[in-house]
């Protein structure tokens, strides 16, 4: 009965259910926002072809497999050399157009698979460096497996709920009444402890299930039994364990870590009777440890390091010097497995002893002289709603335009020119024939170059970029003022108030070669000819979504309602926005 009362009190009255649900919802949301495994390829077609090609080679590296992969690479290199030779002959006039195209056609197939072959060979080289231990898997990285970030939201939730569950007994003075009864407060405290430990365990398991689902998307199930060192992030691991074994062990370590925080927060609240003192250290220690030992493993030597899970399975990591292997500097020192075992056992012992102390503390003590704080929980919930209003421009009907070659609108024609070795936009007024050049921005970054321009009735859109980033600008044609509307993609690391967050940058390498727009959405054509869309709320170039997953470079016309294009087989197709 006490258990049920406490359950209702903790879950409903103390909002624990609400807080834990938020944690679960945020974790579930990460399933949607998590980047998909791309294997380094932008298109689904390439990904499927890659998987189809590499699957026969996966698993243990045999001599036969090694020979086949090497032969594939050699075939590709030979084709590349032959193409270079053909180019030379064509340039010197030894071959005419027809002969050149006929000869080139022989190598097109293998050259089209350049990225796939390079990727397979790179995977082979990794396994060949240590064939006894490593097995060939298609993925170069499994982000969810090597994720060592601490779930700070869950941590906050645990400390708040656990400390509060104990503090409320003192602040409500019920502790002082119950402790004088025959049974004391043992049963209440045991119920509290059991509920919070169960709730924390359950939430941790649900989050692990989400991670499990993510992992199934990042690495096909058939490879989960392979040794952990098959994943490059764990190349030097000292633990002899399978991928799935490492994943489950990491989740178990995290669970123990959360339970440790749970008991430690309750104990601190019991002894200090101060809410701030029971919450602050358990948030501050992981944050500071994470910050101070951002790259190295010191944080893993603390009990709070258990919250980082997979960190215990990493081997030494080194940065190579400029010249020799001898100059490699080890920046991450692995945690000895024995230490992990001893520390985990000690933490489990702490949890058990802590639980016993907490339950024992509820024994009948009629002479208790403790004074509590006079806090009574109030059912006040503050809702902060920030409404961001964004004015959306009206959708304007555009005329039928050839998006691959459009450089005109009804009033002006535009072209890219080189002047003083600088790329500038030249504009010609069709009515008066007057030409002028739009000058460079005052604060120009000369490492960026203008890549493509696309005029509409009111604006001139253009892309500027370099290797890794690209931004989109537009010039208002009424007064020729310029604004940057889409910013370049972020780098792989992002810093918020000094805490660095890393994520996979495989999808940040997007580069567009053409753009067109209906002045609401911006459409981009990438180097493979696929069409992507940036909605009006997009901020970065990588916020785009693919809408046509085949090449439109054979011909592409846009009329504001649909995209008409010719695919790789020469078939005319239509992408209608209304139907999508």
């Amino acid at each position: 009965m006490i258990f049920l009362y406490e359950l209702k009190k903790i879950l409903i009255k103390q909002y624990s259910l609400f807080l834990y649900l938020i944690v679960i919802i945020v974790a579930a949301f990460s399933l949607i926002t998590a980047q998909h495994q791309t294997y380094g390829f932008a298109t689904v077609t390439e990904r499927n072809e890659y998987l189809e090609t590499i699957t026969p080679f996966t698993g243990e590296l045999t001599d036969k497999k090694a020979a086949e992969i090497t032969a594939l690479k050699e075939e590709y290199l030979a084709a590349k050399a032959a193409v270079n030779e053909l180019n030379g002959k064509y340039a010197s006039g030894e071959l005419d157009d027809a002969a050149f195209e006929r000869e080139m056609a022989k190598y097109n197939e293998i050259l089209k698979r350049e990225d796939i072959i390079e990727q397979i060979f790179s995977r082979y080289e990794y396994v060949a460096a240590n064939p006894e231990k490593r097995m060939l898997i298609p993925a170069e990285s499994v982000p969810v497996l090597s994720d060592t970030s601490v779930n700070f939201l869950f941590l906050l939730c645990i400390t708040f709920c656990c400390a509060y569950a104990v503090m409320i007994e003192y602040s409500g003075k019920s502790r002082y009444i119950l402790i004088t009864t025959k049974g004391g407060q043992k049963a209440t405290m045991a119920a509290k402890l059991a509920i919070l430990l169960l709730l924390t365990s359950l939430t941790s398991i649900i989050i692990s299930c989400f991670d499990f689902v993510r992992m199934s998307g990042e690495l096909p199930l058939q490879y989960w039994g392979y040794s952990l060192c098959s994943v490059p992030a764990f190349d030097n691991t000292t633990v002899d364990i399978s991928i799935i074994g490492a994943f489950l062990s990491a989740q178990l370590l995290k669970l123990i870590g959360y339970l440790f925080i749970c008991v430690a927060a309750m104990l601190t609240a019991h002894y200090t009777k101060n809410y701030v003192a029971s919450v602050f250290p358990f948030i501050a220690v992981p944050v500071v440890a994470d910050y101070l030992a951002e790259r190295d493993s010191q944080a893993l030597f603390l009990p709070t390091g258990l919250l980082k899970g997979a960190g215990y399975f990493f081997g030494d990591k080194a940065d190579r010097g400029y010249t020799t292997d001898a100059e490699a500097v080890i920046y991450f020192h692995h945690v000895p497995p024995l230490y992990t075992i001893i520390m985990t056992a000690a933490v489990v012992l702490f949890i058990v002893i802590g639980a016993v102390i907490l339950i024992k503390s509820g024994e009948n003590r009629l002479n208790s002289k403790r004074h509590g704080v006079k806090h009574i929980p109030a059912a006040v919930v503050l809702m902060l709603t920030l409404l961001l209003c964004t004015a959306c421009g009206s959708t304007q009907q555009t005329e039928c335009v050839d998006v691959l070659s459009n450089t005109e609108n009804s009033r002006y024609s535009f072209e890219l020119k080189y002047e003083d070795e600088k790329e500038v936009i030249a504009v010609t007024d069709k009515a008066s024939g007057e030409s002028f050049i739009i000058p460079e921005e005052t604060f120009v970054d000369e490492t960026y170059s203008i890549m493509y321009i696309y005029p509409t009735e009111n604006y001139l859109y253009y892309m500027k970029g370099r290797n890794y980033g690209m931004s989109i600008y537009r010039i208002r044609l009424s007064d020729m003022t310029r604004e940057e509307i889409i910013k370049p993609s972020d780098t792989a690391d992002k810093s918020i108030l000094g805490l660095t967050f890393s994520w996979s940058d495989t999808e940040n390498r997007f580069s567009a070669v053409r753009l067109f727009t209906d002045e609401r959405n911006i459409y981009l054509i990438d180097k493979n000819g696929m069409v992507f869309v940036l909605n009006p709320f997009a901020e970065k170039i990588t916020d785009c979504t693919c809408i046509i997953e085949e090449s439109v470079l054979g011909g592409c016309i846009f009329d504001g309602k649909a995209i008409f294009y010719i695919d790789e087989d020469g078939v005319q197709k239509r992408y209608d926005f209304a139907e999508q």
Binding site: Y15, L19, L156, F160, A163, Y164, M167, Y275, V276, V279, F280, I283, A284, V287, Y291, Y322, T323, T324, A326, E327, K374, H375, I376, P377, A378, V380, L382, L384, L386, L388, F436, I438, P439, E440, E441, T442, F443, V444, D479, M480, T481, S495, I496, L497, G498, L499, E539
Partner: protein, 314 residues
């Protein structure tokens, strides 16, 4: 050195060689390249400004008759960037790191939450707020709370800034504090014609505004609940939400963006106000100050000092 490294005579070794300044040929090459780059930047900075002025002139000529704002903006550029030169070459890494360093602000935010989130809720829980409201000096109590928060934030900012500068100066040379801010290569286009010391002071002002804004939010949340735990939780949630939102909105409307001096000092950005260009950071300061004033007013009304309770002692 490059010729030596490219020659057959060069053999990479693990042991340091006394013939080289850094002990290694490659080390000397990299060091000299880095030093030469920094010297080149200081020496050629006036040329960079001449090119900038030329582009501003081109833009003025082009936009005359097209956009008055663009003309005024480019005139402002000419005004701000004319006559700049760097008189001393040096390693400014200590201050570059300091301006980009944000972790101290995070620690201060956590301390503000733990110090003030319970201040008004404790009064509510114990009923002290009613007693305070009924006494003659109720307004003084409110103003004292505000002043304590302001002093607390200011002292922490100064303390942390001092420690950060001392720490970075222990790694790098911190003796160039009297040089202009644009002597730091990453700040070549800063609109501020101030010394590094002046920029440090301005960065402190920016942090003060941003953190006082957070302090006001914390006090406001504290005034809504009797429960200290809930107040702390809500403060963390509110600050977290502000951090996430600040990543997606215009920095002008995000006081948190003032915490990182690099983000508002580094580049020339201006806002069109009735056709006149105003530097973005000035607008940011004004908007944040207005938000603080608004929050203080809301806190004041929330505290209920304007309605006198029946029987209040005058």
């Amino acid at each position: 050195m490059q010729t030596y490294i490219n020659s057959d005579e060069y053999k990479p070794t693990e042991e340091a060689d006394d013939r080289f300044y850094t002990g290694y040929a490659m080390g000397d090459l990299n060091y000299s390249k880095e030093t030469a780059d920094k010297m080149r930047y200081a020496y050629l900075y006036p040329n960079l400004m001449i090119e900038l002025k030329q582009r501003a002139d081109d833009n003025i000529e082009f936009y005359t008759g097209r956009s008055d704002f663009e003309v005024r903006k480019n005139e402002l550029v000419k005004q701000l960037y004319t006559g700049r030169r760097i008189s001393a070459y040096g390693n400014y890494e200590a201050f570059r790191l300091y301006f980009d360093y944000e972790f101290s602000s995070l620690v201060i935010i956590v301390m503000i939450i733990f110090a003030f989130a319970a201040s008004l809720s404790d009064e509510k829980a114990t009923g002290t707020d009613r007693i305070i409201r009924s006494c003659r000096r109720a307004k003084s109590v409110f103003l004292t709370k505000q002043a304590v928060m302001l002093i607390f934030v200011a002292v922490l900012i100064i303390l942390f800034a001092f420690m950060d500068i001392v720490r970075f100066s222990s790694f790098y040379d911190g003796s160039f504090i009297n040089q202009p801010l644009y002597a730091i290569e990453e700040y070549k286009y800063t609109p501020l014609n101030v010394t590094v010391f002046g920029a440090v002071m301005l960065s402190l002002l920016g942090k003060l505004l941003a953190l006082v804004f957070i302090g006001e939010i914390v006090l406001l949340i504290s005034s809504f609940t009797k429960n200290a735990g809930l107040a702390i939780t809500l403060c963390f949630a509110a600050v977290g939400a502000m951090i996430i939102i600040s990543e997606h909105i215009n920095p002008l409307y995000s006081p948190l963006s003032l915490l990182n001096a690099e983000s508002w000092m580094k580049d020339f950005n201006c806002v069109d106000i009735f056709g006149y260009p105003v530097l973005s950071f000035i607008v940011q300061f004004v908007i944040t100050a207005a938000m603080i004033a608004l929050l203080t007013a809301v806190c004041y009304f929330r505290a209920g000092y304007i309605r006198k309770e029946k029987g209040a002692v005058q």
